[in-house]
């Protein structure tokens, strides 16, 4: 089993707390993963547009004073369902990998005595 659509899952995970614009999404992904995961900013927007087409997220333009308007994204009910699916898949994958790694570690510990 592979965990596909990781960028999509990260975006949905960030947006489940509250709505955000693109730059804020990128920053939140980086900060919440202690900078372990960094999203290529140029990759983010095509992904956001595709997710918007699939109605996983919705967007609206929010005007700002003295600055260009921002496009703010929020998760939709379909996006919440998709996030739950991603989360389930990730938990199964991570538990599977953890079981293998822990067993290997145990065997190695036994070998080395």
């Amino acid at each position: 089993m592979a965990f596909k659509g990781d960028l999509e899952a990260l975006i949905l995970g960030v947006l489940q707390d509250r709505s955000a614009h693109g730059y804020e999404i990128a920053k939140r992904i980086s900060s919440r993963t202690d900078k372990l995961v960094s999203v290529g900013e140029g990759q983010l927007y095509p992904a956001l547009h595709k997710m918007e087409q699939r109605a996983l997220i919705a967007a609206e333009w929010v005007p700002q004073e003295g600055k260009p308007a921002r496009k703010v994204y929020q998760i939709t009910p379909a996006g919440t369902e998709e996030l739950a699916r991603h989360r389930s898949m990730w938990e199964r994958l991570s538990s599977g990998i953890a079981s293998i790694l822990s067993a290997t570690a145990l065997e190695e510990a036994k070998k080395h005595g």
Binding site: E41, Y45, H49, K71
Partner: protein
């Protein structure tokens, strides 16, 4: 606006203009500008100079060409839409004309050209409108639907049409029935009949042999003429030892004459009461079957293979054009950053 971000946006606009709708282009540029300015301000607040902050923000965002390519992958492009519309319009055209116009008894020539233009123009206008207002995904699906319908509709109609009419026209079935009805009525009343090896006077005109296909519309009708119910009906004249019927299509049998040696000597089925002059060839090498096959293949090619090739070519051409556009556009900002 900060000059580096401005340059980036100008280059990006140049790569995307003409490929996406103007409102989409505006949204993409506005969102990109907002992001780059936020990013540059963020970096500047950490102690970078304004120019360095802008350049760093652009580097973090990625190359223009890469971003433009990724954006185009997710957005329906005008080139793709237009070419797909043209392809599917051309594909739909023969299907429509053969299925609707010809089957209703409208001859191909000379009116065909006019109808073709009208229908083709309507298809292209509707398709162009659709292309500018819809998504490529839907357009591709509709194009495939048209192709499937084209294939399904034209094949049986093409075969049927070729068998009962002149090559470029398909008379209505009821017209053919009407043309033959006096003879069929005579057959039913027993006025007309055939005997083995002999034609009745009604089937001779000026000493010229006339094939029994003149009065036969279906296998049932043939049986009325043939008490034996056999494929070998008559031996009308020396040198024409037997007559067979051809089973294309089921409701319109035709006949062909053969020598006893097996050579086909007569395929001249001219004028079925001026309604259906099917085969005027006297070339002994041509057979009815070959005519059917040849005509059917031509129509099938016209409606399906040609359409498939056009649509496929349009997709490939669109891909090549979009990539070529991006390759040919050189970015001075990229060179500066390098």
């Amino acid at each position: 606006m900060a000059k580096y971000i401005h340059w980036y946006l100008v280059e990006l606009e140049g790569m995307l203009r003409g490929e996406v709708r103007n409102d989409q282009l505006h949204d993409i540029l506005a969102e990109t500008e907002s992001h780059l300015r936020d990013s540059a301000e963020d970096l500047a607040s950490k102690g970078m100079g304004p120019d360095q902050a802008e350049i760093a923000a652009l580097e973090k965002f990625g190359r223009i060409r890469t971003f433009a390519n990724r954006t185009l992958e997710g957005v329906p492009t005008r080139t793709a839409n237009t070419l797909l519309v043209l392809g599917t319009s051309v594909a739909a055209l023969p299907a429509f004309t053969w299925a609707v116009l010809h089957a209703r008894g409208i001859p191909r020539d000379p009116q065909f050209g006019i109808w073709e233009l009208i229908v083709g123009g309507a298809f292209i206008c509707a398709g162009s409108w659709f292309a500018t207002t819809s998504r490529a995904r839907l357009l591709l699906a509709s194009g495939l639907l048209v192709l499937a319908a084209c294939f399904l509709v034209t094949r049986p109609i093409a075969t049927r049409g070729a068998a009962v009419a002149r090559q470029n026209a398909i008379p209505r079935y009821r017209d053919l029935k009407a043309a033959f009805s006096p003879e069929l009525e005579k057959v039913k009343r027993g006025v007309l009949a055939t005997r083995q090896g002999q034609w009745l006077p009604e089937f001779e005109e000026g000493g010229t042999y006339l094939a029994p296909s003149r009065i036969a519309l279906s296998f049932t009708d043939w049986r009325l003429l043939s008490p034996a119910g056999s494929d070998q009906y008559l031996t009308p004249q020396p040198g024409r030892t037997r007559v067979e019927y051809a089973s294309y299509p089921t409701w319109a049998k035709a006949a062909k004459a053969w020598k006893s040696s097996g050579e086909m000597v007569y395929s001249d089925f001219v004028e079925l009461w001026e309604k259906c002059d099917m085969f005027a060839s006297t070339d002994p090498r041509r057979t009815i079957n070959s005519d059917f096959t040849r005509t059917g293949a031509w129509i099938a090619a016209d409606s399906t293979a040609t359409a498939s090739v056009l649509v496929l070519a349009s997709v490939l051409l669109n891909f090549a054009i979009s990539r070529l556009r991006l390759l040919l556009r050189r970015s001075p900002l990229r060179a500066k950053l390098a």
